[in-house]
């Protein structure tokens, strides 16, 4: 585009054409803003003619449908907010606009980001572009699918327990959850406020670094965002692996992990080692309590965060004769099963008499897990592990087994409990041709190191920009 060989209008048109062609099967979008996207593309071309060199100028992107946008509805994949249009743009949307990015639409997701397969979306679930009988992962499934299928060149997702990294892994793209506080949550519809973080899903690590550089930074509207300079992430990629120590957590390679997944991850470790990194084994002794602690904390916060959907001021309202009936009917009809399950778990965990045994105990475990990671990072710079214990599974296979679904987040959710940055990089394929990802994690605010390791891994796997045959 900088050389004038491709215009933003052409590029955006091609993405919109792919959406037209494939999205009836992939269903990665809840809303597509063709008119807005084409207008923005034309404006981007004009800007480039005038010398604008915005970092994302003219690049078509998709946005997960729980990031507030003034121009399009923000449904969170829920009947509750089916017609909700936010009166303001999220901080990251402002950043994307300021950098010249073009928003083609809002992507399919598990309802209120609660799920690992995107099947709880009440507007229809997306399909894996490598095999449409399989799930794309979740909750940012639509975002990962849209990028894997090149319906958009990048996407913003959100990650509360793996919701960026896991669908990225299952769809063969790059997905990153930044350090908690690195990207403003202002305008991100809250699920688990102490865990949520917005991050990029892209076709390669370089794009990921570029998008992160655009959305990262302090925002005074988010009290938990951290006032710390944003590093030059794209520049950080080019450094080699010579000085890096790669930690392999013993606990992440035990029973329950699919052998094909283990093979791909072990292969990735060898590649990093070949690239010059030192490999050490580390231990995270409390990680086995992570799933329990995570589902208590995330659900507790969710039970409170979702209390505002009461039918009073906005969103879905079930007609009723009196107040209590309105609340009950609105929430019974407006929320799906998984959301209600988590609200119940969370309400229970915070209840008088149970708080100490559940929420408080979970918070204590969280502290122990943070300490585990701190100790592990004394011996290494980056941790390597699987993203998901298995490749993508068949649509419907786990929908009646919530516990099996929860366990699919086993390798990702501790990153959120500890507030660390983590990234999923395509590592290979299963025998069925389904993508398998490799997860890297780094200490707080070490995104540069994380991206550098990911980039070096990508150079070895040669899986950047892989396109599924559709």
């Amino acid at each position: 585009m900088a050389r004038g060989q491709l215009s933003a209008v052409e590029l955006t048109r091609s993405c919109l054409d792919r959406i037209d062609t494939f999205d009836s099967r992939l269903h990665s979008f809840i809303t597509v803003d063709e008119e807005g996207a084409m207008a923005a593309a034309a404006a981007a071309d004009t800007k480039r003619d005038l010398g604008d060199e915005g970092k994302l100028l003219g690049i078509p992107l998709s946005i997960k449908d729980l990031i507030c946008t003034e121009a399009m509805a923000t449904t969170c994949g829920s009947k509750m907010l089916a017609n909700f249009i936010a009166p303001y743009d999220a901080a990251v949307v402002e950043n994307i606009r300021a950098a010249g990015g073009i928003m083609v639409g809002k992507t399919t997701m598990d309802e209120f980001a609660m799920g690992s397969s995107s099947e709880t979306c009440c507007f229809g679930a997306p399909a894996n572009p490598y095999n449409t009988d399989f799930v794309p992962g979740g909750s940012s499934g639509g975002s990962a699918v849209s990028v894997a299928a090149a319906e958009a060149l990048g996407s913003l997702g959100s990650d509360t327990g793996g919701s960026i990294r896991q669908p990225a892994a299952l769809c063969g793209v790059v997905g990153m959850k930044p350090t908690y506080g690195r990207v403003s949550r202002y305008g991100l519809v809250a699920f688990g406020s102490s865990l949520d973080q917005i991050g990029p899903i892209t076709r390669d690590v370089t794009d990921c670094a570029l998008m992160l550089a655009v959305v990262a930074g302090y925002d005074r509207r988010d009290s938990t965002s951290v006032n710390r300079p944003v590093e030059d992430y794209p520049a950080a990629l080019r450094k080699g692996m010579d000085t890096l120590r790669i930690g392999v957590p013993r606990e992440f390679f035990q029973e329950g992990i699919d052998l094909e997944v283990e093979g791909v991850v072990r292969g990735g470790i060898d590649m990093l080692s070949d690239a010059g990194a030192t490999v050490v084994e580390v231990t995270l002794p409390h990680i086995k309590y992570g799933v329990a602690a995570y589902y208590l904390i995330a659900s507790a916060e969710a039970s409170s965060n979702l209390a505002r959907y009461d039918g009073v001021a906005y969103g879905f309202r079930a007609p009723a004769d009196e107040l209590l009936a309105m609340y009950k009917d609105t929430r019974t009809q407006g929320f799906g099963e998984e959301v209600k399950r988590r609200i119940l778990i969370g309400t229970y965990a915070l209840s008088s008499g149970y708080y100490d045994a559940y929420y408080k105990k979970a918070s204590q475990i969280r502290t122990l897990i943070i300490e585990d990671f701190k100790a592990a990072f004394c011996d290494c710079d980056v941790l390597v592990s699987p993203v998901s214990p298995t490749p993508a599974w068949r649509i419907g296979a786990k929908t009646d087994d919530p516990l099996a679904m929860y366990l699919s987040d086993i390798f990702t959710l501790s990153t959120n409990l500890a507030g660390l940055p983590g990234i999923s990089v395509p590592g290979g394929f299963s025998g069925d041709g389904l993508p398998i990802g490799i997860q890297l994690q780094a200490p707080h605010f070490h995104e540069s190191v994380l991206l550098r390791a990911a980039y070096n891994l990508e150079l070895q796997t040669e899986l950047a920009n892989h396109l599924p045959s559709l």
Binding site: T74, A86, Y88, G187, G192, L306, V312, A313, L350
Partner: protein
């Protein structure tokens, strides 16, 4: 059996910050519904709170004034419950880690000082308001008030009578107004009081079962509600019954307390630390900076009024009850007028005209004018009696007393008593002229007037002088 009453008060004081506690919306009262709102105080999806530093600072002020401890680290928590005036489905408040703890306020009981403990003070956001349309089954929600900062001030159960409770409440009210952190308006709800009250046999170590009283919008209502509830509980206990722990609403029309909700409906608020806000850090240097901004507090001011102005303790106490009144007194005294005289004028004349001390500053009579009036009486320009007429004129016109005296001719001696004294002296000293007058020589009146004008340096009111001489001479 004799019972001891045990009362603890919970006060919610709206803090007078310019903006709300977690967003930049104005806190002004009386704006059209839902206009002082934004995504944050409307609780829209994706919005996040940012703590208003001034609200914390006001909390620190109150803590210092009440000899309380400001916790270096405190935390906001979510209090979860559903109500249409609560847009997020939870109130952001403080729970197990409040901003302030361990304070005290002194009250006076039968001329003895008694210290009332303050358990804690914490910051929280106010809810909106519901407006019910009585003609049809419909309610409206106004969220202008949602997010207004509140300081909840919880006393220890140290109060032993409704009178003590009201005295504590007044002291607290005065203190908050001195600090200028709360406007104290109980009708508009910017200073709200709930009370916990229980009875126990004298000498018992355990507290009795308590009830919580709500809906008391004035000091008078607090007193009346507590007295009623005290009687109600005593009657129950004397009949061998048991008091039910419940929330009671004061019904001012009927003059009784009525149950609001029973214990079986008790809410489980599911408090937990608010993940959207960081811990509140208050270091010593911040506390010390705030300490230097503290105004003189009522007790200190009262003592100073006695020591430096020589006022009787009663006057000092009355004048320092409201900051505006004390300010007024001091400004009036600054004219050089004697303090005790100014105090008398303020307490009798001024307070008769202006019933609410808060309105004194807006009144027609400026403190400078009142001071001037007192000075004019002191130097004999006018008598005290004329002074009152001048004061009445000052109230209605707002004019300077000197202007009023000139316009109305008050500078002439129009004081009947004063002139009468002189008239009688002159008559006694002039037997010949009196005899002439009696003989029908009315022109001799000129002589009397001349003498009077000489004595008063021409300032006697001639019309009045004429009347007085005529009357006195005729009576001879």
């Amino acid at each position: 059996m004799e019972f001891e009453t045990v009362i603890g008060l919970e006060v919610h004081a709206q803090l007078r910050t310019a903006t709300k506690i977690f967003c930049g919306c104005a806190t002004t009262f009386g704006a059209p519904p839902n206009t002082n709102t934004c995504p944050v105080c409307l609780g829209l999806p994706g919005s996040l709170p940012v703590l208003n530093k001034m609200a914390v600072e006001y909390g620190i002020k109150v803590a210092l004034a009440a000899n309380a401890t400001v916790n270096p680290l405190s935390q906001f928590a979510r209090k979860n419950y559903f109500y249409p005036d609560l847009p997020k489905g939870y109130q952001t408040s403080q729970y197990d880690r409040p901003l302030v703890e361990h304070g005290r306020i002194d009250i006076t009981v039968d001329n003895e000082v008694k210290t009332i403990g303050i358990t804690r003070m914490h910051l929280e956001e106010d809810a909106g308001k519901l407006i019910h349309d009585e003609r049809e089954p419909r309610s409206f929600v106004d969220l202008n008030r949602a997010g207004t900062p509140l300081l909840e001030i919880v006393s220890e159960p140290d109060l032993r009578s409704p009178a003590e409770a009201v005295d504590y409440l007044r002291k607290l009210h005065t203190m908050l107004r001195y600090l200028d952190v709360c406007d104290g308006n109980m009708q508009e709800g910017s200073f709200r009081c709930d009370a916990n009250i229980s009875l126990r046999p004298f000498g018992a170590a355990e507290f009795g079962v308590r009830t919580e009283l709500k809906n008391m919008n004035s000091f008078r209502h607090v007193q009346a509600a507590l007295e009623y509830e005290q009687r109600r509980q005593r009657d129950i206990l004397l009949e061998g019954g048991t008091v039910i722990q419940q929330t009671m609403l004061w019904n001012p029309d009927k003059g009784i307390t009525e149950p609001m909700r029973g214990k079986e409906d008790a809410h489980d608020y599911r408090y937990f630390p608010c993940p959207d806000l960081l811990e509140v850090q208050v270091d010593d240097s911040w506390v010390n900076t705030v300490r230097h901004t503290l105004p003189e507090l009522p007790e200190a001011r009262r003592n100073r009024f006695v020591d430096s102005y020589g006022l009787p303790p009663y006057d000092a106490a009355l004048l320092t009850e409201a900051r505006e009144l004390a300010d007024y007194f001091e400004q009036a005294t600054a004219t050089g007028a004697p303090a005790k005289k100014v105090a008398n004028w303020v307490m009798t004349e001024l307070l008769r005209e202006v019933t609410a001390p808060a309105l004194i500053a807006d009144g027609a009579v400026s403190p400078e004018h009142l001071g001037t009036l007192v000075l004019l009486i002191e130097d004999g320009t006018i008598s005290g009696k004329i002074g009152k007429s001048v004061f009445t004129e000052m109230i209605s016109s707002g004019k300077d007393p000197r202007t009023i005296i000139t316009e109305k001719g008050f500078s002439q001696i129009s004081d009947e008593d004063e002139l009468l004294k002189l008239v009688r002296e002159i008559i006694t000293a002039s037997p010949d002229q009196v005899a002439q007058f009696k003989a029908g020589k009315s022109k001799v009146m000129g002589y009397f007037i001349g003498r009077l004008m000489q004595k008063t340096k021409g300032s006697a009111n001639p019309k009045l002088a004429n009347q007085l001489f005529t009357r006195e001479l005729s009576a001879r």
